[in-house]
């Protein structure tokens, strides 16, 4: 998506329809519909114990810059240069054991899981107390959220990865079929870099 570059008007300029469209219409259109990819899941995804796993995003809510159209269902490919807001949420099924984590990865070798990657944002953790003991008799869900801002160039690829150590496989919730957004990821253009 082209980021508008606005004209500097000079004395004597006669505004043509082309100038008006380029300098008024296009910037307003861009403001109204900035590059944004907002994905969720239509079903649960089983996450193995004690191993980072990339999330498969299967339900498109918004993708106006084809960020999720290519590659795998795990990948977000930047199409427009700029500073992006990355946000993601992971809702795990209830389980009393262990901890949960969530992170954004920038994938330097698309298609190769976790090879040549670095973490684009920090790991978040929940379902934990300092002494590591059991906290409650209720088996409640655990929801994690992480957000960051980063500058990206076209072609750079991002993924969301989750981790848990409940002792066995644990479901990451998804339910877009009933319009519930339990786990989601958002890549949103904020500003030119």
């Amino acid at each position: 998506m082209a980021v508008p570059i606005l004209r500097t008007w000079v004395p004597g300029d006669m505004a043509t329809h082309g100038m008006l469209n380029d300098n008024i219409r296009e910037p307003v259109e861009f403001q109204r519909d900035r590059p944004w990819c907002f994905m969720s899941r239509s079903s649960n995804q089983s996450i193995g114990n004690n191993a980072w796993a990339a999330v498969d995003w299967t339900s498109t809510i918004v993708d106006n810059d084809n960020m999720h159209a290519g590659g795998t269902t795990q990948e977000f490919t930047i199409q427009t240069a700029g500073c992006y807001e990355l946000k993601a949420q992971a809702t795990f099924a209830g389980n009393l054991t262990g901890r949960r984590a969530l992170r954004w990865d920038k994938v330097t070798m698309p298609g190769t899981v976790y090879v040549g990657t670095h973490t684009a944002s920090g790991t978040n953790s929940s379902c934990t107390i300092p002494d590591g003991g059991a906290f409650t008799g209720n088996t409640v869900n655990t929801a994690l959220e992480v957000s960051t801002y980063r500058v990206f160039s076209p072609g750079e690829v991002l993924r969301v990865a989750v981790w848990q150590n409940s002792g066995g496989a644990l479901d990451l919730w998804g339910d877009m079929t009933n319009s519930n957004i339990w786990s989601w990821a958002s890549v949103r253009w904020i500003a030119s870099s």
Binding site: Q31, R32, D33, F135, T136, A143, E145, I181, W184
Partner: protein, 195 residues
């Protein structure tokens, strides 16, 4: 209801009028300078949130409300979309402190749920276990979440539910949501981000 700018396509030979400049430049810039947004809080604590019961919160004070999205007189739990679009949404609450900090805390934002956690659809949520920090005043539990809505039609609304299973030392299983004054950032709000 705010009007989302629908930018004009200028035609060859067209001479812009003042009205067109106002609509296509002034109004458009004003919309993006102040998109529809609302942020609400409470001036008193919310007492007696029963244990293990999703409870809808009501809000008695508007911090920001640019599009008449919240009414402090009726349906005070609701943030109502008056302009169609996708919205960034956020909620943050703070539970009272107990010397016996156990259990979990939850916050859940739902769409068109009519005050019932069993109704409507999920927008975003935060479930976490309490932290038993030793020093005061840090051991009041904060719970918060952000997210984005799917496309909201005019009069679709969001509500914020809370949950806990604190088994406290005061002979009651009820817990309290801390009030939100100007320093405690207990808030519920949303901001228009896309048409």
């Amino acid at each position: 209801m705010a009007t989302v700018p629908a930018p004009r396509t200028w035609a060859p030979g067209e001479i812009p009028t003042a009205a067109q400049f106002n609509t296509d430049i002034k109004d458009a810039e004003n919309f993006y300078k102040t998109p529809p947004s609302v942020s609400v809080r409470n001036t008193t604590n919310v007492p007696d949130v029963a244990t293990e019961t999703w409870t809808v919160l009501t809000w008695n004070t508007d911090v920001v409300d640019t599009d008449a999205m919240h009414d402090t007189g009726s349906n005070t739990s609701r943030l109502v979309a008056k302009t169609q679009g996708y919205y960034y949404v956020f909620a943050r609450i703070r539970w009272e402190w107990h010397t016996d900090n156990v259990g979990a805390r939850g916050i859940w934002i739902k769409k068109n749920s009519a005050g019932s956690a069993a109704s409507g659809t999920t927008v975003t949520n935060d479930f976490r276990h309490s932290c038993n920090w030793a020093s005061t005043p840090a051991n009041r539990h904060g719970v918060g979440c952000t997210g984005f809505t799917s496309l909201l039609a005019v009069n679709d609304y969001l509500e914020c539910f809370v949950w806990h299973d604190q088994d406290n030392l005061f002979g009651s299983d009820a817990s309290e949501i801390w009030h939100s004054d100007t320093t405690l950032q207990v808030r519920f709000g949303m901001v228009w981000v896309r048409y």
